[in-house]
């Protein structure tokens, strides 16, 4: 990381900031030394005493699938960004650069697991079979959710940072109780064990809810994997302001394993997450994974990274691109040919076209649905306000009819 990570004084302008940041960088040490990596930026496959075993289970089809997923979600990201630029979406939250962290971890989950994303986990959504056009509902302003989490065990996006980490732990506490009840009624045990994944970022790691969620998870040994994508920037604030030590080291303080993994290495991310989920499902308690990655684009389409970071830093991370290294590996190992990559590109274009078409078709909801969903059970004030709204609206219709005559 070193010099490429440090913003120059022309961006932050104060020596104190630079000094603090440099100290933090020094305290974090060389990340590579303590980071699990299997597929290097140059596309060569290395080994790891624990995690190679998981990587070795991946056949050619799985590896090609990882590539196809990452390419699909990058293409989707480009299309969504374009839709925002064209005024079809109010906002978009790009994920480019974080494909390996999301596809690798998402593909390690099982259908019975439950996933709590933050708001940038489009890649994880893809692995959970969420219809990607549904992700755009929120950003088009037609929904605050967009999909039914019960269909895919992929929860709604949560915009209040870190709030979902506590929901994840509570959900995991529910799984623990379900398993005890199931064991009592059905000792043979037909239900596969389940775990929960809580996604959050380096910025959210400073929120108190992350701390509380880790305390609760540890105290109750809850089957939850905390998956932190350290993409280095919380909008404009570098990760060095959020932490003086590698985030994965924080797990030690809570008493469970913490692993930093190369977040741009889909094979390592998948291996580490698979290990962590097995750990959690088998009753051994929580795990913190810090996926060391980089947000290559803006925080959102409303953001301007040129105001706070150097393009040289972005270039350095572009050289560690998650897709490029897997392509090099697949080609070198003879696991994929030109035809495969051409097909991936064609599939991506088809996905983009589907997303574009469905976005244009997304229907504007009726505010009556908002009245209906404010509460589960009937509520006199909501009913009264709805009745007033109907009467008020009818007045306009009458006026329009009158004008027509």
């Amino acid at each position: 990381m070193g010099a490429t990570h440090l913003p120059s004084t022309e961006f932050d302008g104060t020596e104190v900031d630079d000094q603090l940041e440099a100290e933090a960088e020094a305290a974090m040490g060389e990340p590579d030394a303590q980071m699990v990596q299997l597929l290097g930026p140059d596309g060569t496959l290395g080994s790891d005493p624990v995690f190679s075993e998981y990587a070795n289970k991946l056949d050619a089809g799985k590896l090609r699938g990882f590539y196809a997923d990452m390419a699909a979600i990058r293409r989707f990201d480009q299309e969504a960004t374009a839709l925002q630029r064209q005024g079809q979406l109010a906002l978009w939250v790009p994920l480019t650069g974080q494909e390996a962290a999301q596809i690798g971890s998402g593909r390690a989950s099982q259908p019975q697991d439950y996933i709590f994303p933050t708001y940038r986990e489009h890649g994880v959504a893809l692995t959970r079979n969420v219809d990607l056009s549904e992700l755009l509902r929120q950003f088009r302003g037609v929904s605050n959710g967009g999909w039914n989490p019960k269909d895919t065990n992929f929860h709604l996006y949560t915009l209040v940072l870190a709030a979902q980490t506590l929901h994840a732990v509570g959900y995991a506490m529910g799984i623990q109780r379900d398993q005890k009840l199931a064991a009592a009624s059905d000792p043979a045990g037909t239900e596969p064990p389940a775990a929960v994944v809580a996604y959050f970022g380096d910025g959210a790691s400073s929120e108190g809810d992350v701390h509380e969620s880790m305390v609760f998870a540890s105290s109750y040994n809850a089957p939850v994997v905390f998956f932190c994508q350290n993409n280095h920037w919380a909008i404009s604030v570098p990760s060095a302001v959020q932490t003086r030590i590698p985030l994965s080291n924080r797990a030690k303080g809570y008493g469970f394993p913490g692993i930093r993994v190369d977040g741009n290495d889909v094979i390592a991310v998948h291996a580490v997450t698979e290990w962590a989920l097995e750990h959690a499902r088998s009753g051994k308690g929580p795990v913190l994974i810090e996926a060391f990655t980089y947000r290559l684009g803006a925080h959102t389409t409303a953001d301007d990274p040129t105001k706070y970071r150097l393009s040289a830093e972005e270039d350095a991370w572009r050289a560690k691109d998650p897709l490029a290294r897997l392509e090099v590996y697949l080609r070198a190992a003879g696991l994929a040919d030109d035809a495969f990559f051409e097909q991936v590109k064609a599939d991506g274009d088809e996905l983009a076209s589907y997303v574009r078409r469905t976005t244009h078709d997304l229907e504007t909801p009726d505010i009556r649905a908002a009245f209906a969903n404010a509460y589960v059970e009937s509520h006199p004030l909501v009913a009264e306000e709805l009745a007033w709204f109907e009467q008020y609206s009818a007045g306009f219709e009458d006026a329009a009819e009158g004008a027509a005559h």
């Binding site: 439950y114 929904s143 605050n144 959710g145 039914n148 989490p149 019960k150 929860h155 709604l156 949560t158 209040v160 709030a163 980490t165 506590l166 929901h167 994840a168 732990v169 509570g170 959900y171 995991a172 506490m173 529910g174 799984i175 109780r177 379900d178 005890k180 009840l181 108190g208 809810d209 509380e212 969620s213 305390v215 609760f216 105290s219 649905a369 908002a370 209906a372 969903n373 404010a374 509460y375 589960v376 059970e377 509520h379 006199p380 004030l381 909501v382």
Partner: protein, 326 residues
């Protein structure tokens, strides 16, 4: 009929919840072997075990946030917040997450979390232990807020709160925890709807609306007024969100005068909301402006002067005098 204190009635109500609903569980600080700082959960961990009566880490956001997760998994958590003034670390989870989950999921998700909060002053305690923050929650759509004033209601309302599929906050009048009353554990009777206000004393000249800890005060004021020949109707509001405006409106149309009493500061409060709605619904029946009796616009004062802050019989009688002078 069994006679018991409000604290015991809630304890028995929670026992019934745990016995009848296998997916229910209690969560909070010190609610296990200690039975809660007010002993409301006394004995329950022994009967139902630590998976269902959960002593949590000392973290209110953590309690509410994990309760939301448990509810998403199909459980019915009942959270205890130790004191009114300590709910605020959990305020974010309550207002941004719990209240909105059903709406933002288009009705696909329900989070039937119950939050019990002992509230109000009059116990001579240190700061943050005597507050009435109900209006802050009432302003948030998606939540329901109820507050019992007697043992029978306390026994049934906690059970009804758990049955309700919306999130419910139960504000418990802590200075009345030891107030005894008759409880019919066989049937709720008139208490069958927790969101309905009760006319607990009939009168002709004015209506006093109160809830929670001030209900006995309002009744005593009405009795004192009777000695002066004034006939005062008293309504126990019971539900703060939604508010049963029908019952209040009907009463005001009869009496023409309305006093609303609560411990919370009057500014931006429940009394103001009732005054506004009643002025819309019963304007032509009102003989006087709606008068609010409540706390002052200041941080809750120190224990030695809380008597001057809290509405009492005389403060309600003074308001009645003003209303009747019109």
């Amino acid at each position: 009929m069994t006679t018991m204190t409000i604290a015991k009635a809630i304890n028995e109500g929670l026992r019934a919840v745990l016995a009848n609903n296998p997916k229910s569980l209690l969560m909070g600080e010190d609610i296990g072997p200690l039975g809660g700082v007010y002993r409301v959960t006394d004995g329950l961990i022994g009967e139902f075990g630590a998976d269902r009566v959960v002593d949590t880490p000392l973290a209110e956001s953590g309690i509410i946030g994990t309760a939301i997760g448990l509810a998403l998994r199909g459980y019915s958590p009942v959270c205890e917040i130790q004191f009114d003034g300590f709910v605020f670390p959990g305020f974010n989870q309550i207002t941004t997450q719990l209240a909105k989950m059903h709406a933002r999921s288009h009705g696909n998700l329900t989070v039937p979390v119950v939050i019990r909060i002992p509230y109000g002053g009059g116990i001579g305690s240190v700061e943050h232990h005597s507050e009435s923050p109900e209006a802050l929650f009432a302003h948030t759509a998606g939540l329901r807020i109820i507050t019992p004033s007697n043992a029978h209601d306390a026994y049934w309302m906690i059970q009804q709160a758990v049955e309700c599929q919306d999130p419910v906050i139960v504000f418990e009048p802590k200075r009345r925890y030891w107030l005894k009353g008759d409880v019919d554990i066989q049937a709720p009777g008139l208490a069958d709807d927790p969101f309905k206000a009760h006319v607990i004393r009939e009168g002709q000249d004015a209506t006093v609306v109160a809830y929670g800890p001030l209900v006995p005060v309002a009744l005593a004021a009405a009795n004192a007024a009777e000695e002066d020949g004034r006939s005062v109707e008293v309504i126990d509001l019971r539900s703060i969100s939604p508010i049963d405006f029908e019952t209040v409106t009907e009463s005001v149309k009869k009496t023409g005068r309305l006093i609303v009493a609560h411990e919370a500061p009057t500014f931006g409060g429940i009394g103001g909301e009732i005054a506004a709605r009643i002025s819309e619904r019963a304007f032509l029946s009102l003989e006087a402006p709606v008068i609010r009796v409540g706390g002052f616009h200041m941080p809750y004062p120190v224990a030695k002067v809380e008597e001057d802050y809290l509405p009492d019989i005389d403060r309600i009688l003074e308001a009645l005098d003003r209303a009747l002078a019109y």
